[in-house]
Amino acid sequence: MTTNQATKYDPLTYRRLSTACFLLASAVLFLGALAGYLYVAIAVYAVLCVAGFGIRRTADVTLFDERDRRFHDRASGSAVSIVSYTGLVSVPVVVGLAVAGYIPLPPEWFGFMMAFPALMGVYLVAHVYHRYR
């Protein structure tokens, strides 16, 4: 294991700890909500997220560099593209089939139809911000 001689701590350890905090936070929130302990789950989720960010802020070594940011940017772009193209095709198809009476329209679908334009709106704002700043 490579160690940073200046700080005597392995940057990879910091990254793994921070990532573990966020993964655990997500798991706790999901499972806690399922189990009916939503408020407890949210509180634990918040604490773990603060811990995860705290590790990143207080670590005196480089944890995430330009390569990580490039991966993040590409992954974010791919995620938006996948959701966009999926919604572009699926929403009209599902709504059309539901109106024609072939399939029922579950209530969860309305949530997706609201979230989809909201995501596009956030993307548009972010795009304009980065383009004209």
């Binding site: 490579t2 200046a6 940057p11 070594v61 480089t62 560099d65 330009e66 390569r67 990580d68």
Partner: protein, 76 residues
């Protein structure tokens, strides 16, 4: 992008971790550059060139597929 970063680093007796700390990136990034799995940004390329006291063109060797004025002049 090809580079002789590994050779220069070895000649300088530096570890990947030490070089990474010197230029402000992670050891994994230095490893990826040496394995030609990652092309550094212009800023990082300048930092690496400055670290080894050489020019960017001496450190990195991009394979350019596009035309250049020199190539067009030779063909004409």
């Amino acid at each position: 992008m090809k580079s002789d970063l590994r050779e220069r680093r070895a000649a300088a007796g530096e570890s990947q971790a030490a070089l990474a700390e010197a230029v402000g990136v992670t050891r994994q990034t230095i490893n990826a550059i040496e394995r030609e799995r990652y092309d550094p940004s212009l800023e990082l390329a300048f930092k690496l060139a400055a670290y080894f006291d050489c020019r960017i063109e001496e450190l990195f060797d991009p394979t350019l597929d596009g035309k250049s004025r020199a190539n067009e002049a030779e063909q004409n």
